[in-house]
Amino acid sequence: MTAVLEASIVEQLVAAIAPVLGEANVLTSKTARYSRARVPAPFPVHRWAERVPDLVVLPGSTEEVAHVVRVANEFGVPIVPRDGGTGLTDGAVPERRGIVVDVKRMNLIHEIDLENRTATVGVGISMLKLNEVLAQHGLIYPDNPASYPCSLVGGRIGTSGWSLIGSRYGHSRDLVLSFDMVTPTGDIIFVGDGGGRKISKSSSGYQLKHLFMGHQGTLGIATTATLKLYPKAEAEFSAFWAFDDYDVAYKAVGALARAGIATFAGAVLFDEKKVEYLRRDDEAYIPQPESVKALVCSVGYGNSDEVAAGGRRMMRIARDLGARYMGDEISQGDWASRHDRYATPVHGRTLSGQVALMSWHCEDAAINYTDLPAVTREWHAIVEKLRRKHDVFDDWGMFAYTSSDTGVDYLTEIDIGIWEEKLDDTTWAAFVDAKREIAAVSLKYGGSISACHGSCREGEVDLVPQELGGGYDVMLAVKRALDPNNIMNPGKYGLDRAYDNEGDRR
């Protein structure tokens, strides 16, 4: 555990930063710091104080961010970017305390280019708020994570986010054309194809955009981004189908994803445990007969005529495989409420069936279609073993979402209810072990530890070098080159080992 900074150092940091950012934007109160110590990923409550930052700053411009980073370098103090703080791999958690750079004030829309279909924004804006403005022009920025109502563009860059409708529109890495970013030494660089912000494909020089997306704040802080815009869809098709068994549902989701329907935006497979979980008290599923064991949802977006044709084809594919359409009310309602229902604390149950307020933990992976059934079985077995041993965990079932328009791979997730309030050191250690086992299964089947969240947390992070092969050494070299003092979000991804203990000045 990192010790808190001495008060005199904090005072010096404030004195160095406040003249540039303004006193109102340098926060030292306990509440300001405690409220930026967490993300939604569960962590033992009794250890909350370990990760409370020493200082919070709210910069309003790229230059102000650069100033803060330069000050942090001068003092050798860790710096942690915080955008929405909605991530699930602790990217925004100040594990070594230091300065949290909260970018939410940088939420201006700088430009909407109607001809080239781009928007240039401060990274502190949420997609929801941006889309409220874009809707006036008939446009949309279709980056749509489960945290759509509150996650921010900058966090999507830092985590290389995954989008629910990415099979149609691509994911954050496809939708973000370019961005300004402040490097760990306080330099301001431009990242993207071409020199003018709005190029979607170039072959000139190293392709740095992927490097500077998904680094979980270890390589710098994005500040201004240029985004690719689409016409706001005229029509939406969303259908939910019920199946008597998982195997048929699995076949159906594969068939839908492989059908080559241009308006296809994604398909989701709910396994038996997930249906069981939703039955606990979800009004939509309680009336469904017990024979319903698995569900598939498929959605399409686009122009009305194209969506209608694509929808008819999807209905036919599902019906031919024995699917039962669940009706318009569930189909439209469940899809519309998709962002809201991914975690409901009172759905938590102990082994005896007692309701317990549980946090939601979602362990994700990228898995090829052909390996989904095996991974599903093995993951459930790991969680079942965990919950039999410690009655503070619960299996909330699994989803598999298409990641692309061909159905090659899926974001696979197992949702685990965790009675966070009761987590002690023993149960936390057991959970970390289970996460490591889950990640090991993903690698065994040739997948990635994460399609969506990142893999920084205790447990799975141990296996990242294995997943990346020699690439992990390149990660270390890049980190060392760009962040000589190891001040940028230290402690993440095991990157301390890039420094032989020399660079970690805390």
């Binding site: 306990k30 509440t31 939604p40 009172v346």
Partner: protein
């Protein structure tokens, strides 16, 4: 009644009237508070969605995560774990208008409210923290003064230095020939009674035109709601007691309410204070008037050639689900071009005037009302119609530079009914 509530007596100095400081044990009070709120706080903390954030009016203009409903709940967990105490957190809870948007947007409310009766209650939490602060001797300076003056004058000091009190609380009704007492009592909030007197004048004359018999209170005090919102619960209860006794003494059966804030006080606070003893019917004037229009008892005929949009007052739309009737009324007025914004989109709108924010942090209220006016401005309207007197002062101030007039829905309806309203749309 305490002696300083004598009619029309202005205290020579507020220093003579210290706010009550109860001899309370901070540790015990904090522990009771945590016991009451622990589960609700964990319900938010453990889900961690933060969907409330972008609908919160304060968060939208400050972008400060310290002042979000999520943080407000998490602080309780931190108190439970001994990490924070009431002195650490009290000041942050100023930053809330108690609009209720966060409660509506909370997935726990959406998915669980009906099933478990466990909807998110951030507004009540904010009130509870403010009450704990006051009870343990932690005061916000402007709120303290405001409540001392209210206590001294029996009404809120909405005119600043200019006195308000019993001798002038019915002046707004001059010339309208409204009796005292009766089955139906029209209750007029402090802002409308002393500041925007055109609103109660419009309401009274609309009701008179419809043939609705009503009277005024013998001795009306502030509803006590603002004191409750700022944490001065004992004072709020004393004021409520006075009003209830006064209603009972005059044999009132129904209380007609024109102000959404009063509507909350009378339908939520008073029943909690008095239980079964509180057996009066509380009627929102807007709903009565909409019914008169439906039945043909009132027919607006004077065309009003304006381009308007409607501001859903938070306490009507977000907290009481009243959004149809105002639109019905506006659509009955000839001549209007009505550029409406649906009531769900307006979950994220607010005037910034509620929850005492305008008293302690007027600069935040100005930012919030400015943002609201900007939304109206994008619709190319010349008039923003509201139905809440407390919203109309900050919105008018923000509307002036944008050339957007702020009109109360009752004022506009009265005009279309051919009524000469009179009164003032601002300070007298």
């Amino acid at each position: 009644m305490s002696e300083h509530h004598a009619h029309g007596t202005e205290p020579s100095s507020i220093e003579l009237l210290p706010i009550e400081l109860l001899p309370i044990d901070t540790a015990q009070a904090s522990s009771d508070f945590v016991d009451e709120w622990r589960n609700a706080a964990y319900n938010c903390y453990s889900s961690g969605h933060k969907f409330c954030r972008e609908v919160c009016p304060v968060m939208q203009v400050t972008r400060n995560e310290t002042w979000t409903p999520t943080a407000f709940h998490a602080n309780v967990v931190a108190m439970d774990k001994g990490e924070l105490d009431i002195a650490d957190i009290a000041e942050d809870y100023v930053n809330c208008t108690q609009c209720g948007a966060c409660e509506l947007r909370c997935p726990n409310t959406l998915m669980l409210g009906d099933f478990y009766r466990f909807r998110t209650r951030t507004v009540d939490l904010v009130k509870a923290v403010r009450t704990l602060a006051v009870d343990t001797g932690i005061h916000q300076p402007q709120w303290k003064t405001w409540n001392e003056l209210t206590d001294a004058r029996s009404h809120e000091p909405v005119l600043g230095e200019q006195p308000v009190g019993q001798d002038s609380v019915r002046e707004w009704a001059d010339g309208l020939d409204i009796p005292i007492g009766g089955d139906d009592i029209l209750f007029v909030d402090c802002e409308a009674a002393f500041y925007r007197t055109s609103v109660p004048r419009a309401v009274a004359q609309i009701l008179q035109m419809a043939g609705h018999e009503f009277g005024l209170m013998q001795e009306q005090w502030c509803c006590g709601g603002p004191a409750a919102e700022m944490g001065y619960r004992d004072q709020a209860m004393r004021f409520a007691r006075h009003n209830l006794d006064n209603w009972k003494a005059s044999g009132a059966k129904r209380i007609l309410v024109l102000d959404p804030h009063d509507y909350i006080s009378f339908t939520e606070d008073y029943p909690k204070y008095f239980g079964a003893e509180f057996d009066l019917e509380i009627v929102l004037v807007l709903e009565v008037v909409a019914e008169y229009i439906r039945s043909g008892a009132l027919t607006p005929r004077v065309a009003i050639e304006k381009t308007i949009t409607y501001h859903d007052p938070c306490r009507l739309n977000k907290r009481k689900g009243v959004w149809k009737e105002p639109r019905e009324i506006l659509r009955s007025i000839p001549g209007l071009t009505f550029n409406d914004v649906d009531h769900v989109t307006q979950w994220s709108y607010c005037s910034g005037g509620g929850g005492g924010l305008a008293i302690e942090k007027p600069e935040l209220t100005a930012l919030i009302s400015g943002a609201r006016i900007k939304k109206a401005s994008e619709l190319s309207v010349d008039t923003l119609v509201s139905a809440c007197p407390w919203s109309e002062r900050p919105l008018s101030a923000a509307g002036e530079p944008e050339n957007i007039d702020v009109v109360d829905i009752h004022e506009m309806l009265a005009e279309s009914l051919g009524i000469t309203v009179g009164g003032s749309r601002g300070a007298r």
